[in-house]
């Protein structure tokens, strides 16, 4: 089972455990740029780590430094495996655009309606460079190797 999503920023294919946020997040102040951990104590997913996760973002808020945090996460290897956004956030995604200008390998950013986020919870989605999202790569493997 897969879905096609609009590609917001191209990048490398990726897969990882889904992290579906249930509230909008401010990357600056909300995510530790050194580790990728959600540092905002008021956020429902406080304490979770974005690194190598397929991150589903229902919305983004707050500071105009979100892009700097995402660029830093790409540079230090703590970035999500892919970002799936309900709507494009140019401030956040600029972190990926600049990383590409610097010649660094970046995760993809895709657009998908947040009404579709729930079914990825607890799964391990895979993102292909054409924008398709496989619901669960683990399920795919077990199907191939019974």
């Amino acid at each position: 089972m897969s879905a096609m999503a609009e590609i917001l920023v191209p990048g490398r294919a990726g897969e990882g455990e889904a992290l579906v946020l249930t509230a909008p997040i401010s990357f600056w102040g909300g995510v530790d740029p050194k580790t990728g951990r959600i540092a905002d104590v008021r956020h429902p997913q406080h304490g979770q780590n974005l690194e190598r996760r397929v991150l589903f973002l229902p919305g983004t808020i707050g500071s105009s430094s979100a892009s700097a945090v995402l660029l830093e996460l790409v540079h230090n290897g703590h970035a999500p495996a892919a970002l799936v956004l309900h709507e494009p956030d140019a401030i956040l995604l600029l972190g990926l655009i600049v990383a590409r200008e610097m010649g660094w390998e970046t995760p993809m950013a895709l657009r998908l309606g947040r009404d579709q986020f729930d079914r990825f919870r607890g799964r391990r989605p895979g993102i292909k460079t054409d924008g398709s999202i496989i619901l669960d790569t683990d399920a795919g493997k077990s199907a191939c190797n019974p």
Binding site: S64, S65, A66, L94
Partner: protein
């Protein structure tokens, strides 16, 4: 509708130098936003010179190596170091060196050494209706709402890219139709004493940001102009709790002479009638530590304190000695005035730690303290301090903050909403 660049813009973008990088970043962002074209800008305020990690320094140095220079007036937001040497920054090497390199790179790009999050109180006030590219959420909201200049919320890197290219995507708040209010936020149900108090503005700003998200709203029921520092506090709090880039206040802000004008004759899509209970809940929500018996520090100046706010601080301290420090964050535009007549020395002798060029939530200044309690009158500090400093927060008026700093324990004056 896809983006069309002018032949000149295309020629710049196809180059290999810093100007090309800047133009490509602006164009890529414009495509992401769905903007049809780029427009010229009159000025920029750059939030990108704050050190968050080595990546930002490397990017700025790449632009410098590529020979890039800003093409419009560009002020700088806070950096990670206090270049004026007022306060001790605990940032350790190698981060400290990288932060300094970053600040130096932005200077070499031709930016003004303003180092403040309140550039609009440091002489950078673009004209009503002019297009600009500003970063830093509180500066953006003030620029749009109070000055009536037009900017979207430009994140780090896009701000400097716009400043170098002299262009911005034609989108959102640059367009007249994007500035019309669609929501009414009515505060007429709150008491006059609350609306006349200092805490009303950060508290209502925090509530406003949460209620409206990124919808353009107009506040009604405000009896008179609350003063520029109140609007500064409202906008900063609103831009911390929501994606607010522009607010209007009927009869106060320049694009909203009255409700009908700013709604452009249409009925509002949403009306939020603020009740005293909603205001009380928003006020309580600004504190994360409620049962605190002592406090460890007070932090004020987010956004950076104006000279008027320092006047009030001095009057409230009234020559007393503080038990816990008050970190007072400001820009060098205010510092130079404070240094006349020995005012800075007097404040420091009473226990105020002046922080210039930066602030306590963006770089390590306050001691690391497990279970530390910070009191503040800033909605923005209240929002960001727990995540960025590890301190729990108590929210109160400036008068309550000063009394608490004198006593070393929280003191609150009740103001019913």
């Amino acid at each position: 509708m896809s983006l069309i660049l002018s032949p000149e813009e295309q020629a710049i973008a196809s180059g290999k130098d810093g100007a090309a990088t800047a133009m490509r970043i602006v164009a890529d962002s414009a495509r992401l936003l769905g903007a049809p074209r780029l427009i010229p800008i009159a000025s920029a305020h750059i939030d990108g010179a704050l050190y968050h990690g080595d990546s930002g320094t490397l990017f700025a140095e790449r632009l410098v190596e590529g020979g890039a220079r800003v093409s419009v007036r560009s002020t700088l937001n806070v950096g990670a170091l206090d270049l004026m040497g007022c306060s001790r920054i605990r940032l350790k090497e190698p981060a400290r060196g990288m932060a300094r390199r970053m600040m130096e790179a932005y200077r070499k790009l031709g930016c003004e050494q303003s180092w403040t999050c309140a550039p609009y109180q440091a002489g950078h006030r673009p004209a009503l209706g002019s297009d600009v590219a500003w970063g830093e959420s509180n500066a953006v909201v003030f620029c749009n709402s109070v000055l009536g200049a037009r900017t979207n919320r430009y994140g780090d890197f896009l701000d400097i890219a716009c400043a170098i290219s002299g262009r911005a995507p034609d989108y959102g708040l640059h367009r007249t139709e994007g500035r019309r209010a669609r929501l009414v936020f009515d505060v007429s149900g709150l008491s006059a004493s609350f609306l006349g108090s200092e805490i009303a503005w950060p508290v209502l700003g925090s509530l406003y940001g949460r209620e409206v998200g990124n919808t353009i709203g107009v506040v009604t029921g405000v009896p008179g102009h609350p003063g520029e520092d109140a609007l500064k506090a409202f906008g900063a709090a609103a831009a911390s709790s929501g994606a607010v880039g522009l607010f209007h206040i009927a009869g106060v802000t320049p694009e909203a002479p009255d409700l009908l004008t700013i709604l452009d004759g249409a009925a509002p899509e949403t009306v939020v009638r603020v009740t005293p209970e909603m205001a009380a809940k928003a006020r309580a929500g600004l504190s994360t530590a409620t049962a605190a018996k002592t406090i460890d520090a007070v932090a004020i100046g987010s956004p950076h304190l104006s000279l008027d706010e320092f006047d009030l601080l001095e009057r409230l301290i009234a020559g007393r000695r503080l038990s816990v420090p008050i970190y007072a964050c400001t820009g060098r535009h205010v510092l130079s005035s404070l240094e006349k007549n020995g005012r800075r020395k007097t404040l420091e002798a009473s226990g105020v730690i002046i922080v210039a060029d930066t602030c306590v939530v963006v770089t390590p200044i306050m001691p690391e303290l497990a279970g530390g309690i910070l009191m503040t009158n800033s909605g923005k500090f209240a929002h960001y301090a727990p995540g960025n400093t590890g301190y729990a927060v108590l929210y109160g008026s400036l008068a309550d903050c000063v009394e608490s700093a004198v006593l070393g324990k929280p003191a609150f004056t009740d103001i019913a909403a």
